[in-house]
C-alpha cells in the first residue's frame, strides 16, 4: 500500500501543479511547488514498512514492493533527490512549469522503477524517466540545450528500443513475469538473445564507452539540480536494470566475463582521459561519472566469471553506487554555489573529491576496497587488480582538475545553499552506516590502507610533473565523437531532403474553387460523333439487318 502511495503522490502532484498553472491559480501552484522537494522522502516509507502489494487493475497486473537489490539506490534517490529538490525550489526562477513537469515526471518514473515488482511496471517507470529527463535537459531552452536534448533523445529512444526487444522476447515465453521469478530461475536466458539486448539497452543509460556520447552533452547543460539528479541517481537506473534483467548462469563461457571486465576498465580510463581535455567544470564531472560507471561494470562482470558471488556483488555495487551518487550530486550542487568564493566553500568542495578519489578513511576508500576484494575473487590476470588501482590515480587526477576549475569560480554574490553542505555530510556518513548495516568486513589492515595510498601519491607526482613541464592542455570539444557524427548526419540529411523536397511540396494543398466537369478530349468527341451517326435512320436500318442476319445464322446452325 505504501509503495502505491509513493508512486501515486508525485503523479498527483504533477497533475495538480499542471492544472493549477493551466487554470491560472498561481497561488495554489506556489504552495504545491513548496511541497515538491520533499516527495522523494516518501520512498523511505515503503523501505521501512517493507510491504509488497499486488494490484491486478493497473497496467498488466502491477506488483509493487522493495527487495534487497534496490535498497542502496532507494536510499540514494531519497536523499540526493530531495536535497536537489530543496536546492531547485529556491534557485529555479524562470521556466518553472517546464522544469517541474520534467522533475516530477522523472521522480514518478524513478519511484515506479525502484518499487516495481513486474517487468511491465519496470519498463513503464523506465520510459517515463527517460522522457521526463529530456524535459530537464532542454529546460534552459538555449541552442546548446536543444542540441544536447536531440542527441539525448535519439540515444535514449534507441536504448529503449533495444530494451523493448529484450522485454518482448522474455514476454513471449513468460508473459508479464514478476522480477523475482526472472532472477530466481533464469531458464529463459538460453532461449533467446534477450539478455544482450537488455544489456545494451541499459548500457546507454549508464554511459558505457561507445554509448556515452549523450552524457557529456546532457548533464552539464541541464540546470544544476537537474544535473545533480541526472548524474547522481538517474544513471543508477541502468545499473538496477542490469541487476534485474541480466542474470549470470552457472556455466557461463569465460570470454563473456572477460569482455565485460575489459569494457568496464576501458570505460573507466577512457572517461578520465576525455575528462582531462575539457574546460568546463560540469563537463569534467560528467566524464567522471562515465568513468565511475565503468568501475561498476567491472564489478558487475565478476558475476559472469565466478558462480555464486551474487550477494557479495550486490553489496559491493550497492555501496559503490550509494557513495558515488551522493558525492557526485553534492559536487554538481557545488557548481551552483560558486565553490571558489571562500576557503570554507573550497573545503566543502574538496571533501567529495577526495572521497571519489578513494582517499583512505573516506567513503570512497570503503567502496573501492570492497570493489577490489570483489574483483580479486574472480580468476583474472594479476594485471587487472593493478589497472584497478591505476583507475584511482586517474580519478584523482580528474578530481584535481575539477578542483582547479572550481577555484576559478569566485563570484561571491551567489549564496551558499544549505542543501549542498547537507549532501556533503550525507556523502561522508551514509556509506559508512550502510556498510555497517550491510555487515561488510571493515578492517583497517595496513596493507589495505597502503594499497589505497600509493595511487594518490603517484597522482600527486604526475600533477607536479605536468604543471612544471609545459602547462599546455589538450582541448577536445564536448561530447567528443558526437561532433563528427552530427556533421555526417546533417550532410546526409541535407541531400535526402533535397532529393524528396520537391515531392512533399507537390502534395495538393487545399484550393477552394468549386468542382466543374473536365472538357471532353479528342477521343470523347469521336465517340459522340459515332453516337450521332447511329441516330440516323439508314444506319439504324443497316444495324438492324446485320444483327438480324447474325442471329438468324447462329440460331439455324448453332442449334444442333
Amino acid at each position: 500500500m505504501s509503495a502505491l502511495v509513493a508512486v501515486i503522490v508525485p503523479l498527483a502532484l504533477l497533475l495538480g501543479l499542471w492544472s493549477a498553472m493551466a487554470l491560472g491559480a498561481v497561488r495554489l501552484a506556489g504552495q504545491l511547488l513548496r511541497l515538491a522537494p520533499w516527495v522523494p522522502l516518501l520512498l523511505l516509507w515503503p523501505l521501512v514498512a517493507g510491504s509488497a502489494g499486488e494490484f491486478t487493475w493497473p497496467l498488466l497486473g502491477m506488483r509493487l514492493g522493495v527487495d534487497a537489490t534496490v535498497v542502496p539506490v532507494l536510499v540514494l534517490a531519497a536523499l540526493a533527490w530531495s536535497a536537489a529538490g530543496w536546492f531547485a525550489g529556491s534557485r529555479i526562477t524562470e521556466g518553472r512549469r517546464w522544469f517541474w513537469t520534467g522533475w516530477l515526471g522523472a521522480l514518478a518514473g524513478m519511484h515506479l522503477l525502484l518499487l516495481a515488482g513486474d517487468m511491465a511496471s519496470f519498463y513503464v517507470g523506465y520510459a517515463l524517466l527517460s522522457l521526463s529527463a529530456y524535459l530537464l535537459v532542454t529546460q534552459p531552452g538555449s541552442d546548446e540545450a536543444w542540441r544536447a536534448g536531440r542527441v539525448y533523445l535519439i540515444m535514449a529512444l534507441a536504448g529503449e528500443g533495444a530494451l523493448l526487444v529484450g522485454l518482448l522476447l522474455i514476454a513471449g515465453s513468460l508473459g508479464n513475469a514478476p522480477l523475482a521469478e526472472l532472477a530466481a530461475n533464469p531458464a529463459w536466458v538460453t532461449e533467446s538473445a534477450a539478455r544482450w539486448w537488455l544489456l545494451a539497452g541499459f548500457a546507454v543509460k549508464l554511459g558505457i564507452l561507445p554509448l556515452h556520447l549523450w552524457l557529456p552533452l546532457a548533464h552539464p547543460v541541464a540546470p544544476v539540480p537537474a544535473s545533480a539528479v541526472l548524474s547522481g541517481v538517474i544513471v543508477k537506473a541502468g545499473l538496477l536494470g542490469w541487476l534485474r534483467f541480466v542474470p549470470a548462469l552457472e556455466g557461463e563461457p569465460q570470454f563473456i566475463g572477460q569482455a565485460l571486465l575489459a569494457l568496464g576498465l576501458a570505460t573507466a580510463l577512457g572517461g578520465v582521459a576525455l575528462g582531462l581535455c575539457q574546460t568546463r567544470l560540469k563537463t569534467v564531472l560528467a566524464y567522471s561519472t562515465i568513468s565511475q560507471m565503468g568501475l561498476l561494470l567491472t564489478g558487475f562482470a565478476v558475476a559472469f566469471l565466478v558462480a555464486g558471488e551474487r550477494p557479495a556483488m550486490l553489496a559491493a555495487l550497492g555501496l559503490f553506487a550509494l557513495h558515488h551518487g551522493l558525492n557526485k550530486a553534492s559536487l554538481f550542487l557545488a557548481c551552483g554555489c560558486a565553490p571558489g568564493a571562500s576557503p570554507w566553500r573550497l573545503a566543502l568542495f574538496a571533501l567529495p573529491t577526495l572521497a571519489l578519489a578513494a582517499a583512505p578513511l573516506t567513503s570512497g576508500y570503503l567502496a573501492k576496497t570492497a570493489l577490489k576484494d570483489l574483483v580479486a575473487l574472480a580468476p583474472t590476470l594479476p594485471l587487472v587488480s593493478l589497472v584497478l588501482s591505476l583507475t584511482s590515480t586517474a580519478t584523482a587526477l580528474l578530481m584535481w582538475k575539477a578542483f582547479g576549475l572550481a577555484r576559478t569560480q569566485t563570484d561571491r554574490s551567489i549564496g551558499l545553499h544549505p542543501a549542498w553542505p547537507l549532501l556533503v555530510v550525507a556523502g561522508v556518513l551514509v556509506p559508512w552506516v550502510y556498510a555497517l548495516a550491510g555487515g561488510l568486513a571493515l578492517e583497517f589492515a595496513p596493507d589495505k590502507l597502503l594499497a589505497s595510498l600509493w595511487p594518490l601519491g603517484l597522482a600527486a607526482l604526475l600533477v607536479l610533473a605536468w604543471t612544471r613541464l609545459s602547462g599546455a592542455a589538450v582541448r577536445l570539444p564536448e561530447g567528443d565523437l558526437v561532433v563528427p557524427i552530427e556533421r555526417l548526419v546533417s550532410l546526409l540529411g541535407g541531400r535526402l531532403r533535397r532529393a524528396n523536397g520537391t515531392r512533399t511540396e507537390a502534395s495538393d494543398d487545399e484550393d477552394d474553387t468549386p468542382h466543374t466537369p473536365g472538357q471532353a478530349s479528342r477521343l470523347v468527341a469521336q465517340l459522340l460523333q459515332l453516337e450521332a451517326l447511329q441516330r440516323r435512320l439508314p444506319v439504324a436500318g443497316l444495324a438492324l439487318l446485320a444483327v438480324g442476319g447474325l442471329l438468324w445464322l447462329l440460331t439455324l446452325f448453332g442449334g444442333r
Partner: protein, 103 residues
C-alpha cells in the same frame, strides 16, 4: 413450286422494295409510303398462309388482315399529323439534315 410459294416470294420481293426505299428516302412522306407498301406485303403473306384446313376455309387470317389494316391506317394517319406539325414547327420535312437536337 406450289401455288403458295409463288405468292410468298412475291410478298418477300414487295417487302424488300418497301424496306429499301424506307432506308434510302430522305423525305418523310416517301418513308411513310414505303411503310404502307411493306404492310401490304405482310397482309399478302397472311392471306396466302391461310390455305384450306381439312376442307373448310379458315377465316382467322382474314380477320387478322382486317385488324392489321385498321392498325396500319391509324398509325400512318398519326405519322402524317406528326409530319405536318413537324414541317410547320421546324420547316424541314426530313430527319436527315436536322441539327443535333439534344445539345
Amino acid at each position: 413450286m406450289s401455288h403458295a410459294e409463288v405468292w410468298v416470294i412475291a410478298a418477300a420481293a414487295v417487302f424488300g422494295i418497301g424496306l429499301y426505299s424506307l432506308l434510302i428516302a430522305s423525305h418523310l412522306l416517301r418513308q411513310l409510303i414505303a411503310i404502307k407498301v411493306m404492310g401490304s406485303a405482310i397482309f399478302l403473306v397472311l392471306v396466302v398462309a391461310a390455305g384450306p384446313i381439312d376442307g373448310a376455309l379458315d377465316g382467322l387470317p382474314k380477320a387478322l388482315v382486317l385488324t392489321g389494316i385498321v392498325i396500319a391506317i391509324s398509325a400512318i394517319a398519326f405519322a402524317l399529323a406528326l409530319l405536318v406539325r413537324l414541317a410547320e414547327v421546324t420547316g424541314s420535312t426530313s430527319l436527315e439534315d436536322e441539327a443535333d437536337d439534344d445539345r
